[in-house]
């Protein structure tokens, strides 16, 4: 089969690799019909996530048709159309039973390695480094899906791939970003990053009752999208001081909740702190460049919530813990518990409450994926989201 493999930092290629095979009786093999490039794939692409090796197949947002099933998967049939959640979860451990699917205690066979860096291990993830399992990713013609009796969501009506594909990651992730805030009517929510997750966080914050949502980015078409499709007020951080503007908009209080949808490669103006972060990141003495997170913390209203949905891999410097502690902020975060949100969100899509298709800017074949990565990384050609059709 053809698959997109990581070769070196900022270098990916489509190669012929062996087809996947059932390894366990709870596996399924899915023929991928649509798969997307995620913002978090860019962290892998750029080489900032540890333990990605040349040849590893990337991709964790995918859906397709079941072509083969292990003997113990009885809830699916060959030919079923499924969306696959990016966290791999067994459904039987304590974490899964408590609805914390991205903390599955069994799905990461490299848990020992993850423990050394993080203390304890999170779940395994498709195509997301060896430390998180060493699973083949979904940017391929076929993919092996472990615990197929637990994760895949069957799509039984005539919704298109574009409408449901994002249930695999970014729609639930954006929604969880808002859900974790515990939004109450009248609350003001600010969202850092108007990429796909940020767009869905804006929409979700309104769905959950926010009175005003402010989106922060610098890419004009993304800010326009947040305004026109999401109804957000927008701030371009290159043109204005975000902290001052937010203080002004909220008459001094700051937003009640801040959602960070940026992650470890935040861009910011060339300031001494940015230079410091970049130097430390390049010399591997810090894995993150957490400028958006720092700003979200400083901006947040006293007693408010900072919800971190951007991906971080290791250690951050200059973390304003004093601001968090002295001002009673709550930090909520986590890889999305996709299994928790995908069914209710499918229902909202079906009812027309959310139409996730508006973020798609490009459709491409799998062979064009390397160009897709390049466009998405550099935000060229008004690229907001690339969907690949193998």
């Amino acid at each position: 089969m053809r698959a997109l493999c990581w070769e070196a930092p900022t270098k990916v290629g489509v190669h012929e690799v062996p087809d996947p095979k059932i390894l366990s009786s709870r596996d399924a093999i899915v023929r991928v019909t649509s798969t997307a490039i995620c913002g978090s794939d860019l962290h892998l692409y750029d080489g900032y996530i540890p333990s990605v090796f040349p040849g590893d197949i990337l991709g964790h947002e995918f859906m397709g048709e079941v072509v083969e099933l292990g003997a113990d998967v009885t809830n699916l049939a060959v030919g079923d159309r499924v969306v696959v959640p990016f966290p791999i979860a067994c459904g039987a451990c304590r974490a899964c039973k408590r609805d914390m699917w991205s903390l599955c205690e069994n799905s990461n066979p490299n848990a020992g390695q993850a423990e050394k860096v993080m203390g304890h291990s999170p779940c395994g993830i498709f195509g997301y480094s060896h430390m998180l399992g060493g699973y083949q990713g979904g940017q391929a013609e076929y993919v092996r899906v472990p615990f197929a009796d637990v994760g895949p969501l069957k799509i039984e009506d005539d919704l298109t791939d574009d409408q449901v594909l994002f249930l695999s990651d970014i729609l639930p992730t954006g929604y969880m970003g808002a859900d974790l805030c515990g939004i109450e009517p009248g609350d003001v929510v600010a969202v850092w990053g108007a990429g796909p997750v940020g767009q869905f966080a804006v929409a979700s914050a309104y769905l959950l009752g926010a009175s005003k949502v402010i989106a922060i980015d610098r890419v004009p078409e993304r800010l326009r999208m947040a305004e026109e499709k999401g109804g957000a007020q927008t701030l371009n951080y290159e043109e204005t001081s975000v902290l001052e503007e937010l203080r002004e908009i909220t008459a001094g209080r700051g937003p009640d909740h801040c959602i960070e949808a940026v992650g470890m490669e935040a861009h910011s103006d060339i300031t001494p702190v940015e230079v410091y972060d970049k130097a430390k990141q390049l010399t591997k003495s810090q894995t993150e460049r957490p400028q958006a997170l720092r700003e979200a913390i400083l901006a947040c209203a006293n007693g408010g919530t900072v919800s971190i949905m951007g991906v971080y891999g290791g250690f951050a410097d200059k973390f304003p813990i004093g601001s968090v502690m002295n001002r009673s902020l709550t930090i909520k975060t986590g890889q999305c518990h996709v299994h928790r949100y995908m069914r209710p969100l499918l229902e909202r899509i079906r009812k027309g409450e959310i139409d996730p298709t508006y973020i798609i800017s490009h459709h491409m074949s799998l062979d064009e994926a390397p160009r897709g990565y390049d466009l998405f990384k550099h935000k060229q050609d008004q690229c907001t989201k690339v969907v690949l059709q193998p």
Partner: protein, 310 residues
Amino acid sequence: MDNPERTTDRLARFLGVASAGLGVPMLWKTDEVAEAAGVDDSRMAPAVIQAVGTRELVHAALLLLGPSRSVWTRVVGDAGDLAVLTRALQNRTGARRSRTQAATLAVLGITAFDLYVATRTLRRQHGKGRPGPLELHASATVNRSPQESYAYWRDFENLPSFMLHLRSVTQDGNGRSRWEANAPIRRKVKWDAEITGDEPGRRISWKSLPGADIDNSGTVHFAPAPDGEGTEVRVHLHYDVPGGRVGRMVAKLWGEEPEQQVRDDLRRFKQVLETGDLVRSDALPQGTDARHQFLQRTAKPNKHHGGGHR
């Protein structure tokens, strides 16, 4: 009991501090050092001394922050120093020559000590068979009842399904069992064991019988988790290591990181009980395995496991 490994580590750290003690005066009191070594007449001496001083600080950093076998970098450096001093001796006369001789003798002494510590680290690398008990401990919480967890473990023939160092265990029905370990090629490591304690749902203890290739014993405790759901499993393994051949066998069975291996064994026990199978990925098609942690396949289907869908 004095632990030879710890002594080696302490000696290496001491050499780290000593390296810093040598390096700092060379960098900041270069002229005084040159005079003491009788080379203050050389125009090149200050540059050479400062280079050596810088190198000493590198040794210090390596020894204080890195593994103790970094002592070998000191031995290599010493050889260089001796070469330079020998050269200096040829051009010196009188009082200067005596001072250079004294400096050379001092460096010879330091070299001897460096070499001693360096060979100690070597002995440790090849000497996993050093005498003393090997005690391993690990724990995990399994989302099954103590009775279920106990029952799976109590059937010793299940042990190889999650304990990687075992090839097979067969039971004879009288509380005795025959264990065979996954020893390196052509060697068979085996022992007979008997159950020495058995409290259903709570504890199992076993011990190898006389005549075992490796004398060992183990205990596993099962306790209800505090919230009443699941079981806290705690395992203790004990190996008598008389040194020599048996020591090397034990070292091969348990590899570089024995504690990690036992933890992984329990992880697999948990996987089998909770999910019914080992959890496999493309990088680890054989499942969790500390020994393959640093030699993993790429995260793509591999030929041996490849199927066909076209």
